[in-house]
């Protein structure tokens, strides 16, 4: 069983600029993968490499076991792509555009109604795209990517600039795709936007791959401290502070809250000590490092 996508030591140079440097990874069927990095980190270049729109300067890319740049028609029929800031000819209607793309994929035009329904554009189907809002264009972009039940979907910054409601709908569709066994790649420049919906995260920075794994794995590798937050009852502040011991990172807030940074190994001990204080504390929270902190950690590590 070969992987659905195999990127092996891929490097892409534009003149003197290295957009992607020696990146390797494989994607398996049914995975939902987040491709995260700053703007200009090489995410779009990676997606274009997987689409075969550009060729790797070094290394190779295989999609469905074939070189996507060789122009294999079969490969592209099983692939859905949503470009960053998708655009369409504004003179045509939503239905006309979808019909055109469906025919290009040798798919029946009958499925269009259901697709338009799925992305919530059924009412606007006969309107010219020039009258669509940005959100509606993004919905249409999503609909065209879903034509022909593709097995690999590449979404480039799909949720940037979408309102929260639409974002929720988008993630609903992504989980449907996952249940169907499709592989979904979502790129984003902020990890938090993906809201822990992906099982695997690939972080790229300046064209290099800096992390690849599940969020839990990445947390473990990063060893970022969690925050233990203790709410203290009236007057118990000093006592609880002593109980917790002299921590460098201890912070107190308005007389009844204490926060301590704790590495995974210290965490349990801290919670136990806090629990020993009995009635003096009202509540204990353990807050894992946020996705932002995690992301920042990997980008920092890479910086020279």
């Amino acid at each position: 069983m070969t992987s659905l996508v195999e990127v092996s030591h891929a490097t892409k140079r534009y003149g003197a600029i290295e957009a992607v440097r020696d990146i390797s990874f494989t994607l398996e069927p049914g995975q939902t993968v987040a491709l995260v990095g700053h703007n200009g980190a090489g995410k779009t270049t990676l997606i274009k490499l997987m689409l075969g729109l550009i060729r790797a300067t070094e290394g190779h890319v295989r999609v469905f076991g074939e070189d996507p740049a060789a122009g294999g028609i079969g490969t592209r029929r099983r692939l859905g792509y949503l470009p960053e800031s998708v655009s369409f000819n504004t003179a045509l209607t939503g239905r006309e555009v979808l019909a055109f793309y469906a025919r290009l994929k040798s798919e029946s035009v009958d499925g269009i109604r259901a697709l338009l329904d799925r992305v919530g554009l059924a009412k606007a189907a006969e309107r010219r795209i020039g009258t669509y809002s940005k959100g509606m264009r993004q919905r249409l972009g999503l609909a065209q990517a879903l034509i022909g039940r593709p097995r690999l979907l590449l979404f480039d910054e799909p949720t940037t600039g979408l309102d929260p409601g639409l974002r929720m709908e988008f993630y609903e569709i992504v989980s449907e795709l996952r249940e169907r066994g499709a592989t979904v790649v979502l790129s984003s420049h902020v990890l938090t936007e993906l809201e822990e919906r992906t099982e695997r995260v690939i972080i790229v920075n300046r064209g290099r791959l800096v992390a690849d794994g599940t969020l839990d794995e990445l947390r473990r590798i990063a060893e970022l401290p969690a925050t233990v937050r203790v709410s203290v009852a009236q007057g118990g502040m000093e006592k609880v502070q002593n109980l917790l011991g002299a921590q460098d990172s201890i912070r107190t807030f308005n007389g009844h809250r204490i926060e301590v940074d704790a590495t995974p190994s210290q965490k349990i001990e801290l919670v136990r000590r806090a629990a020993d204080a009995g009635d003096l504390i009202e509540d204990i929270d353990v807050i894992p490092p946020s996705l932002d902190e995690l992301y920042a950690h990997f980008l920092r590590k890479e910086a020279p």
Partner: protein, 276 residues
């Protein structure tokens, strides 16, 4: 084949929708009609061959207008779609770049042919309706004029694509297109005339002149329509040149075909290697 037809159909659909076709047809019809009826005033009603006069005036119009219109619709065919971001999506579909280019070519030719046939046809039909006597020979020459006008359009559509795949920005493409138009429609002939006047027939033989004229598609068109048909050449003042230049219609048509195919093939080759 299917993909080419799909892309051609979409191109036509878009042009119909944004009223490009309507505008182009209306422009050609309006100019053709005014040339037909205002232009024939000097010849009076004695001119038995009214349509031949129309052929001469419409050919001259074509030389200026058709290359311009063809470049206008073709210069941003590739670079425009690339800039708007629609090309990226299109190429992620199971369609080759050659098919995209050919599909657009077929679509654009269809649009141009429609506008030319309808625009110029209106003029001829109106002329016939006003009672001018037109014989079969004139009708054949008129049909030939329309056919070669479309072929001239094809040449400039192909040149437009070549421009479109070579540049990085739409504005550059528009600038280069205007330059190309000026070169072939205005500058080339003036320069050639200048050279001929200076040379006084000492070094430039009629063979060289024929070769030089083949270097400009609009001159090939001119020879085909103004010098080719015997009746028209008498009106157009091209008979002198026609006698000098030994090029049959078949050779001239081949020249126009070559002027279409070479830029088109070059555009397809460059486009398929271009990275997006």
């Amino acid at each position: 084949m299917r993909n080419i037809a799909l892309i051609a159909a979409k191109e036509i659909q878009e042009s119909l929708r944004n009223r490009w076709v309507l505008a182009m047809t209306a422009l050609l019809a309006a100019l053709a009609l005014s040339l037909t009826f205002l232009g024939s005033a000097p010849t009076g009603t004695v001119g038995a061959r009214a349509l031949d006069i129309v052929i001469v005036s419409l050919s001259s119009l074509t030389i200026f207008l058709v290359p311009l219109v063809a470049l206008l619709i073709s210069h941003d065919a590739i670079v425009g779609e690339t800039e708007r971001g629609t090309m990226l999506l299109l190429l992620s579909y199971p369609v080759s770049r050659g098919q995209v280019l050919l599909g657009k070519f077929v679509g654009h030719i269809a649009i141009l042919a429609f506008a030319t046939v309808l625009g110029y046809g209106t003029a001829a039909v109106t002329l016939a309706a006003t009672g001018a006597a037109i014989d079969a020979e004139s009708w054949t020459a008129f049909a030939g004029m329309i056919g070669t006008s479309i072929l001239l359009g094809a040449v400039f559509i192909a040149i437009g694509y070549l421009i479109s795949v070579l540049v990085r920005e739409r504005a550059t493409a528009a600038g280069v297109a205007i330059g190309v138009w000026l070169l072939f429609v205005v500058v080339f002939d003036m320069a050639l005339l200048g050279v001929l006047v200076v040379d006084q027939g000492r070094t430039i033989s009629s063979g060289t002149l024929s070769a030089l004229l083949l270097l400009n598609p609009t001159d090939v068109y001119r020879l085909l329509n103004l010098a080719g048909a015997t009746n028209a050449s008498a009106f157009s003042g091209m008979s002198g040149l026609a006698g000098t230049v030994a090029l049959g219609p078949a050779k001239l048509l081949c020249a126009l075909a070559a002027w279409t195919l070479v830029p088109l093939a070059a555009a397809a080759m460059i486009f398929s290697r271009r990275e997006l």
